[in-house]
């Protein structure tokens, strides 16, 4: 069977069960695709071929023994900020160039328990600081749809790997946009769960009050499948919610009759790409045609979220990155790249005596305003729909022109991250220049089911559109 690597997790699962192919064949197909394309894309920092083959063989034995696990034998790529026992974990920083974790992050442990085959670690902005992968110490990842363009970030390697069929599914993490924005620029599905829905244990800490691990997938169904594996309380992360996780695959249905969808003109910001604007407005019309009720709502100006996020994120970074002292593991602080140095210093400054009230406390107060603003909006509507990114994938080098690049390109995803909400990016089409356009669906906290349902309905209704058959030419 050809191009097994193109399969979705759902298709792979069915094929493996019916013995149409083995996990070893599927894993080989992904690794061959990586070999053939990663010199152009640079999606991976580390590929673990031997371990992957060993795990694929073990999966095949289990499948022969009629074992049934949700991800048994399915090749998955994991962002390089998730600790993987015995596999180098760098967070794309040379500070951790030689770091081999002695333990698994909870996300990786759950993936393994569900039977997944981890094939490698994907490239990212160093320490997840950025929206381009250009701050990676291991080179920039390229957008599979146009290798002169950026994949977005910080989970750019994971989004590019899924778009280029180098894996079946990938895992990313979002602090403010790092799943949804690269998913948008690479034309794939990226789910940012509610803060506390998925454990942060063993993820290289960045903005601890914001970090949310989540799946990057080819379909909405796969997104719900992975969320079901990852979601839930974890004793090793006290911020995980005691609220029971949903059965995200069971509850997934294509129906949005009478669903109230909020649309806010504040999210069609000045300077938004015209093609993005018209594609999203067209998609909203389609949702209305499917029975949803579109309501115009007014949301707090997302531009202020940039200020809030910049202060809170830098402050948390300065504290989290203080642990890298080259004593227990890794190299010294001289190896931090410019972006990490800037963020550590700004955070140190914002938290320092005399400035704390002016910056950190002020930002946390405006954070309250943003949280309350969304609460008010969700009294009126079930979900909010908006463009994910105000632009198409930007050219390589774009991030180097502005120290605020990441914040500016994430302006439409930062407010919901600050409020800890659930959200998803789904592709809605392509620009004339053949670059993907993404739409985000934002839900209240712990409303992943309704977010996924809205996304699934849109996806199912547009499956026959011509652009769905496009594949990156590599």
């Amino acid at each position: 069977m050809n191009n097994l690597n193109n399969l979705t997790a759902k298709q792979a699962r069915e094929g493996l069960k019916e013995k149409k192919f083995s996990s070893l064949e599927l894993t080989k197909a992904c690794l061959e695709r990586i070999k053939k394309t990663d010199n152009k894309l640079n999606s991976f920092v580390t590929v673990g071929e031997e371990e992957a083959f060993e795990n694929a063989r073990r999966s095949d034995n289990l499948i022969s023994g009629k074992e049934d696990k949700p991800l048994l034998g399915i090749p998955i790529a994991v962002k390089d900020n998730f600790s993987t026992k015995g596999i180098r974990t760098t967070a794309s920083s040379k500070v951790l160039d030689n770091y081999i974790p002695p333990f698994d992050s909870t996300v990786v442990r759950k993936l393994k328990e569900a039977g997944a085959v981890i094939i490698g670690k994907t490239n990212m902005d160093a320490w997840a600081h950025g929206s381009s992968t250009e701050t990676s110490d291991y080179g920039t990842t390229k957008n599979p749809w146009n290798t002169q363009r950026l994949p977005g970030g910080s989970s750019g390697g994971s989004a590019a790997a899924v778009a280029a069929d180098q894996c079946v599914v990938a895992i990313g993490s979002e602090t403010a946009g790092s799943i949804r924005q690269p998913a948008s620029w690479c034309g794939v599905v990226g789910l940012k769960p509610t803060y506390g829905r998925v454990s942060r244990y063993g993820v290289v800490a960045m903005g601890s009050s914001l970090d949310s691990p989540g799946p990057i997938t080819k379909t909405v169904e796969d997104s719900s499948l992975i969320l079901k594996v990852l979601a839930g309380k974890d004793d090793l992360d006290a911020t995980t919610s005691p609220l029971p996780a949903g059965d995200y695959t069971e509850s997934l249905m294509a129906n949005i009759k009478n669903l109230k969808i909020g649309v806010s003109s504040e999210y069609f910001i000045e300077g938004i790409d015209k093609e993005v604007e018209s594609a999203i407005k067209k998609a909203i019309k389609k949702l209305e045609g499917l029975g949803a009720r579109i309501e115009n709502i007014k949301l707090f100006d997302p531009n202020y979220a940039i200020d809030v996020y910049t202060i809170i994120q830098r402050s948390e970074v300065s504290s989290n990155l203080a642990r890298y002292d080259a004593i227990r593991y890794g190299f010294g602080r001289d190896r931090f790249g410019d972006e990490a140095k800037r963020r550590i210093m700004l955070g140190t400054y914002a938290l320092s005596s005399g400035y704390y009230d002016q910056y950190y406390k002020k930002a946390q107060k405006v954070r309250t305003i943003i949280i309350d603003d969304f609460k008010k909006a969700f009294d009126k509507v079930d979900v909010i729909v908006a463009p994910t990114s105000p632009s198409l994938a930007l050219p390589i080098g774009a991030s180097k022109e502005s120290t605020m690049f990441g914040e500016l390109s994430d302006v439409l995803v930062e407010p919901s991250s600050i409020a800890g909400l659930s959200g998803i990016n789904i592709p809605v089409g392509f620009s004339r220049s053949n670059l993907p356009i993404g739409m985000q669906i934002i839900g209240p906290q712990f409303a992943e089911e309704i977010v996924l349902q809205t996304a699934f309905t849109y996806e199912q209704e547009t499956l026959s559109e011509a652009w769905r058959n496009l594949k990156p030419k590599l």
Partner: protein
């Protein structure tokens, strides 16, 4: 807004060259200037957010559970002495 980069770098334990100090001073001041728009928002009656999902007093029993072995915990260390991390001395005989 003036930022004393040398002092901040010292607080953050970051070794910087003098060229870096100059470069970062300019860049950090740009960022500080950018985020000044936050002052346009009246927060006189607003409480700061603490945690977004309203969890409170999350505790657990303090039990001994299996953990990393000493060998595993020291595996990535550059300098080890008799099962301990070896670090530079910080206390001196006066």
């Amino acid at each position: 807004m003036k930022i004393n980069v040398r002092r901040v770098a010292k607080l953050a334990n970051l070794p910087l060259s003098s060229e870096e100090e100059k470069k970062f001073e300019k860049q950090l001041e740009e960022t500080l200037e950018y985020i000044e728009s936050l002052n346009e928002i009246d927060t006189s009656k607003t409480l700061p957010a603490d945690n977004v999902t309203s969890l409170q007093n999350i505790t657990r029993e303090d039990e001994v559970k299996p953990s990393l072995s000493q060998e595993e915990a020291l595996k990535n260390a550059k300098s080890v002495y008799k099962g301990f991390f070896r670090v530079k001395g910080i206390l001196r005989n006066e």
